[in-house]
């Protein structure tokens, strides 16, 4: 039988962490924190979702939409150091 569960790893900046966690909690998405980067103020969350389940897909696209908008306002490119980025 085909495994319907899919995984997605998201990099979530501290500024929007509470918003993303709220979505994960309210939609009961299985999740695991796979990384914490204290020096860059973000965490990495691995989310497990059911492929083809509209409710889960909308939650994922909700999170991705928040991250897209945040990155649009906050960054222009990947920043490596404050003098040369």
């Amino acid at each position: 039988m085909e495994d319907k569960n899919r995984f997605k790893t998201l990099t979530v900046p501290l500024d929007v962490l509470i918003d993303v966690v709220r979505i994960i909690k309210e939609t009961e998405l299985k999740n695991e924190i796979t990384g914490v980067n204290e020096n860059k103020s973000f965490i990495e969350i691995k989310i497990e979702y059911q492929n083809g389940l509209g409710f889960h897909q909308r939650a994922i696209e909700n999170i991705e939409s928040i991250l897209d908008d945040y990155n649009h306002y906050r960054f222009e490119e990947v920043e490596t150091d404050w003098r040369n980025s």
Binding site: V16, N39, F55, Y70, Y73, R74, W82, N84
Partner: protein, 238 residues
């Protein structure tokens, strides 16, 4: 800016120039449609189904037939479907977007001038201020900064404010007070942490939102130039 959604073909007010879909649902459905064609060879008519339900600004579209079939076969999914998904916006991103929109109506025309001389000063300051704001945002997201780096950043603000270009800016320049206030804040942090090797530079939520918005406003008028490639004293300064 009014654009036409690439999926449902309806007009929507695009917050950003690069937005192609009116909602996250449309973006996802477009992706699913491509996937359906790829996996099942399903062809979907060009004319897409119009939104059936509207929940707090987020249109919920009718799902593709293949996906619906899968969902109907699974009682657990049916149960979940009873819970109507309500789009949950980010308060932080919304505040940034609202402030950016409000301020751009009020201030954008004050960031450049038809007068060549005034515009030269505006551009000179805008490029440097953008660079400093990008640096402050970058550093504030790090655990700490070396005291030497903080001193260098503070001195750059001081030189910028003392420059002839800054002094000649029009009174309605939108970042005049911010630049002076922020320079004072940095000076205070330097004095308080003198002798320490590492210093944390943390911004409160409001200041962070303000800086992200200022960065966006300056991004709209000047390019990003690296700190290492700029001087903050004008040629006429001592």
């Amino acid at each position: 800016m009014i654009k036409t959604c690439a999926y449902c073909k309806e007009e929507f007010d695009a917050k950003r120039i690069d937005k192609n879909y009116c909602s996250a649902s449309c973006r996802q459905l477009n992706h699913l449609q491509r996937k359906a064609v790829e996996l099942f060879g399903v062809t979907v008519k060009e004319e897409h189904v119009k939104p059936s339900i509207d929940t707090s600004g987020e249109n919920v579209k009718t799902v593709l037939p293949e996906i619906r079939k899968q969902e109907e076969q699974n009682p657990a999914i049916e149960l979940k479907k009873e819970k109507e998904y309500k789009f949950m916006p980010s308060k932080f991103v919304d505040e940034v977007g609202t402030l950016y929109k409000t301020r751009s109506i009020k201030h954008t025309h004050n960031l450049f001038s038809n007068d060549k001389l005034i515009n030269k000063n505006l551009e000179w300051v805008n490029v440097r201020l953008r660079c400093l704001i990008e640096a402050v945002l970058f550093i504030s997201e790090r655990k700490s900064i070396t005291f030497m780096d903080l001193a260098e950043l503070t001195n750059s603000f001081i030189h910028l404010i003392k420059s002839e270009h800054f002094k000649k800016l029009p009174d309605n320049y939108p970042f005049k007070h911010f630049t002076t206030d922020f320079k004072n804040k940095l000076k205070r942090i330097c004095v308080e942490n003198e002798g320490d090797e590492e210093v944390p530079l943390k911004l409160n939520r409001k200041l962070k939102i303000d800086l992200i918005v200022y960065r966006c406003e300056l991004r709209d008028v000047v390019p990003k130039i690296k700190f290492s490639e700029l001087t903050f004293k004008s040629n006429t300064d001592e």
